[in-house]
Symmetry: C2
Subunit: 346 residues, 2 copies
């Protein structure tokens, strides 16, 4: 490319627990990382204008669209969907109308997912979008999807997720020829329900398109056995939250134990730095930016409790997805997979 | 009861990584805890007779049935099922033939589950047995089922699990009026697939029989939100293994971090005792004895890697299930629940 293309990112400036402050901070941080991005901010100008003053690097890079309303965390998705004047809705609409290339919000997850699905539809060849997330593993990072967008998934859905996961891992995480595992309750070929059995059968026939490892189990999520792990949204959500719950439980138990007496307190003091490093490694902030992948446009959900740094990671993911033409690659790869499966049957 | 009844326990003495040594040690330990139990041991007499000498308290309490064969860990369940001369098969058969009241094995899980299902059938009113396990939580212990016996479960299966979980928590764990949660991907009433929705609808109508809390999520597994958590075997298995995998990952990271330099090594030394206590709290040994519940007879699976102490816990669970007439109570409670649901519809 001779001329560098500018990526225009729509921002729901009012979504998130500490919005709009952390949002604008996140935008400023993202601008320090990338020269090829510009922003269209949707939000209350009375609150946002003073923040724009605070971060001089935003000058000339942000267009502010005043919105008189925003989606609250307690709002029902069905209600939020119909309000055309909220910052979230107007930000999503700007992607649909091709005024921006992607959208980032830390607001009400249910409402955002509903809007993205309804207004952005799905990309060519994909029947249902899925939530992808990145997990820290012994070997680095793995992509897991679906984390909750679809409560039940048939074999074709799972195969589509495999393609989306492959492209995401390759283009956004930077993994060469990512290996794909299918979550099951055992590694034996005969195990599992009809959906995982059916998906495995298709993926085994598409060896040229998909680097299919086979079945993996729940503990493989953190082992890094494969670069991508595919499952239905019900199981993925339960597995993710179960691990999160265990982490909190174990951390609480350790904290309590360390307070026992002055010797244990001294021990804790000596170990604080390495334990901080471990916490950082497991830090969900770095892994912020769970995304609804497979949409007709790019919509990234930042964690509601994210700070400016966390929000900038979500922006980063959005930018990478646009610059790597994720959707086009997903559609093309799905097409290839279908052709390969048909050929293998002939 | 004027006369104390003796509970006769069948033991697969050849199952488990350190069998028969740890099995016989476990039997000896169990006999020290309970006066109302006796054993029928199935295994190789050449190996077991010397062990019986080693533990004098076994004298007069154990009948040894010599078996010339045993199930290996790598044996296929379908093959193991057909061999009538293995220690595992003969132990299971003794329950079917009412020669013993229950069976405990630490051998090949798949083979054992298959034998238990095929030869013991299900108890009255139960269409499918499920694997129940106990999880450590902030508040104590919770019962989670199904952990992998059924890859897909309809609403009626989940309702049966709720009844089995209630009786298990009350009789074996000792929880008064146990609360029951249904695992879902959100706490809102409208979320989830048709199976969890259907089960919730039935359970809400049976308020007198079941203390139904409503939906819970993956992180509630370790919070102790409810005494019992019900889910299908696919999701339960993934959630359990995901938490186990995370625990191992976090422990490995911490261990590495503690070795960094002499100061962190000193810190680790000071914290070793409280950290051991935390490990003990999360110890799967105490939580040994995952059981296939709902069978026409009682069959307890001990962890394959269990030591004598762990195996004695599994025996303990088996004994409690028999002495509390678990199966009779499950059938009666299921009957009550069906009557209450029918009444509520009239």
């Amino acid at each position: 490319m001779a001329e560098r293309q500018i990526i225009k990112i729509a921002i729901d400036a009012m979504g998130g627990d500490s919005a709009p402050d952390m949002v604008i901070e996140g935008v400023s941080r993202a601008l320090k990382m990338h020269q090829d991005i510009e922003f269209m901010l949707f939000g209350d100008q009375a609150k946002i204008n003073p923040l724009l003053e605070k971060y001089p690097n935003l000058k000339g890079k942000c267009e502010l669209i005043h919105t008189k309303d925003y989606v609250r965390n307690e709002d029902k998705p069905t209600v939020a969907l119909r309000n055309r004047t909220s910052s979230m809705r107007m930000a999503v609409d700007s992607v649909r109308d091709k005024k921006t290339d992607c959208v980032v919000s830390a607001g009400n997850t249910g409402a955002y997912m509903a809007m993205a699905k309804v207004f952005l539809k799905t990309t060519d060849g994909v029947s249902r979008p899925a939530i992808a997330g990145t997990f820290p593993t012994k070997k680095g990072t793995s992509v897991v999807m679906d984390l909750g967008a679809n409560v039940s998934c048939d074999a074709d859905n799972l195969v589509e997720f495999a393609v989306m996961g492959k492209i995401y891992a390759r283009e956004v995480i930077g993994v060469d020829n990512p290996s794909i595992g299918l979550l099951n309750i055992g590694e034996e070929e005969m195990k599992g329900n009809a959906n995982v059995q059916g998906a495995a059968q298709i993926l085994r026939r598409a060896k040229k398109t998909i680097n299919f490892y086979g079945f993996v189990e729940g503990d493989d999520l953190f082992k890094g056995t494969t670069d991508v792990i595919i499952t239905d949204g019900f199981t993925g959500n339960a597995a993710l939250k179960s691990a999160e719950g265990f982490a909190r439980f174990m951390t609480d138990l350790l904290k309590e134990a360390f307070k026992e007496n002055w010797l244990t307190k001294l021990g804790y003091l000596l170990l604080r730095r390495p334990m901080e490093a471990v916490k950082q490694r497991l830090n969900p902030k770095v892994h912020n930016g769970a995304i609804l992948i497979g949409l007709g446009g790019i919509a990234i959900k930042s964690h509601g409790g994210a700070d400016g740094e966390g929000f900038s990671y979500a922006i980063n993911v959005a930018r990478n997805m646009v610059s790597h033409k994720l959707n086009k690659q997903i559609s093309e790869t799905l097409q290839k997979l279908h052709e390969e499966v048909v050929e293998s049957q002939e």
